[in-house]
Amino acid sequence: MLETTLCGVTLKNPVIAASGTFGFGAEYSQLFDVGRLGGICTKGLTLHPREGNPGLRVWETPAGMMNSVGLQNPGIPVFLERELPRMRTLGTAIIANVGGGDLEEYIEGVRLLSNADGVDIVELNISCPNVHEGGMAFGINSEVAAGVVGAVRRVCSKPLMVKLSPNAEDITAMAIACEQAGADAVSLVNTFKALAIDIHARKAVFDNVTAGLSGPCIKPIALRMVWEVARAVHIPVVGIGGIATWQDALEFIMAGATAVQVGTATFVKPTTMLEIIDGLERYCANEHLTSLATVCNILGTVPKL
């Protein structure tokens, strides 16, 4: 009932582990059967290995958390050699999330991933708020984003999903620009740029000053953005942001998402995604739906743009 096709790739269900919150899948396989998931987005990968940000990397906020990991990763070549083979044994779709410091790094990184057996979808992260030199810079302005997406598209033989930033000037225009530049899908949202201050130390909690906000607190805004984008583009939309229950996931689907990603809620309760899958399954059964597509994008009273 929950089987979902996302840019040509068949997922067992529409519930995907969000990038950066699920390592390379094996970590959580200690605690539950990750093979039940629809897919796993890898930790954000870059061509070259990165150490990530110094200082404190996590901070709690009301119904949310801020992180400043900063794309710590072993680099794509090491990922392909060491992590991908293990990921392929997990029995779920593999979505390689890729970031970059400059256009060259994006292109070279995607080229490598695109040639790798076992990577089902490439998720282009143009929206990481935690890297100084790049990442989010590409995710603010639609034209800049279109440039990256177009360039990456040319070297990418895999389905290409672009992950959008809620910090974009105009997320709808951004999604349209990505679609026109060749994206097969968009996923949104990444974390919101946020600030926390240590009043005792009289300085920012994070060395980078700002960090990325995620968790239930952002859900209402993320849901609005997904709804706006789903009305504006013709490619699939993957909803992300504060999803913690099957009801949350269903809201995103009703707003127009084909699938969802779950991040922070997995920290709160490792089995959250399994509960979401079970809940959606029960919902379909109770409502006699043969597929969730029936209730996708049903706020349709308002016409498509």
């Binding site: 919150t21 390592g23 970590e27 959580y28 930790k43 119904a63 922070t264 997995t266």
Partner: protein, 250 residues
């Protein structure tokens, strides 16, 4: 106390909650998930806030119980302290790499500050008592010491206010030269000092580090600590590290 594979247990039953001092509690939970000395669990005993589970070291393990020794620091530990017998707690664990007990030989010093004593009871149980000296520093009233004495371990206490044992910091009465290996857990400045003394004396030292955590399993990378071998994860590579590897004061 053999190593077991970690599990997520949604509603483990609280067998007892003992208050040892004003802000230190011992929580005993029914679970067969076990753990080795130095490993930890992610605990959660509330519905929404705080968002994240809290890492707490294994204090003691029997076949079907695990106990935790913890100090109330903020909201999470305060809510843990409200648990009563029969209550439920969600836990993931045992997690991380504990003390490398194969490396603990000869005369062993266990140097702790405050609640850093938590993981040491189950460690001391596995060591030959005659070889072990515990040097435990406290701000004021000591806790969790009697049970170590019961193991016939040599325990030396320091207190900052002098209310018990030697007045001052535990590092003041710790001489690394008389030991073959050292284990430490406590506030970072204290562990840094112990690590420094051990390095000077050429004595191997294992330190159990702390970091703010989100996942506890190595998936989110928020708990990194700088080491001479690059950033490592406190939850998955540690929490116990070779003190010589750690870059203290980073």
């Amino acid at each position: 106390m053999t190593s077991s594979s970690p599990a997520y247990v949604e509603g483990a039953t609280v067998l007892s909650q003992e208050r040892l001092t004003e802000d230190v509690y011992r929580l005993t939970v029914a679970t067969t998930t076990g753990g080795t000395p130095g490993q930890f669990y992610m605990l959660r005993a509330w519905e929404r806030e705080p968002l994240l589970a809290r890492p707490i070291s294994v204090h003691n393990v029997e076949e079907d119980i695990v106990s935790f020794l913890y100090q109330v620091r903020g909201r999470g530990t305060e809510l843990l302290a409200r648990l009563e017998q029969g209550g439920k707690v969600a836990l993931s664990g045992p997690l991380g790499h504990g003390f490398r007990t194969e490396g603990l030989r000869g005369r062993i010093a266990i140097v702790t500050g405050g609640i850093g004593i938590a993981p040491m009871f189950c460690l001391a149980r596995t060591l030959p008592p005659g070889d072990v000296t515990v040097i435990a520093g406290f701000r004021s009233h000591p806790y969790a010491v009697a049970q170590l004495v019961d193991l016939s371990v040599d325990v030396r206490v320091t207190t900052e206010d002098g209310c018990n044992g030697t007045r001052g910091f535990c590092t003041a009465i710790f001489d690394p030269h008389v030991y073959d290996t050292v284990v430490t857990c406590g506030p970072m400045p204290m562990m840094a000092r112990v690590a420094h003394l051990c390095a000077e004396a050429g004595v191997p030292c294992q330190a159990s580090l702390e970091a703010h955590m989100a996942c506890g399993v190595g998936a989110c990378l928020v708990c990194s600590c700088p080491t001479v071998l690059g950033n490592k994860l406190v939850c998955a590579d540690g929490p116990v590290f070779d003190a010589a590897e750690v870059i203290w004061h980073a």
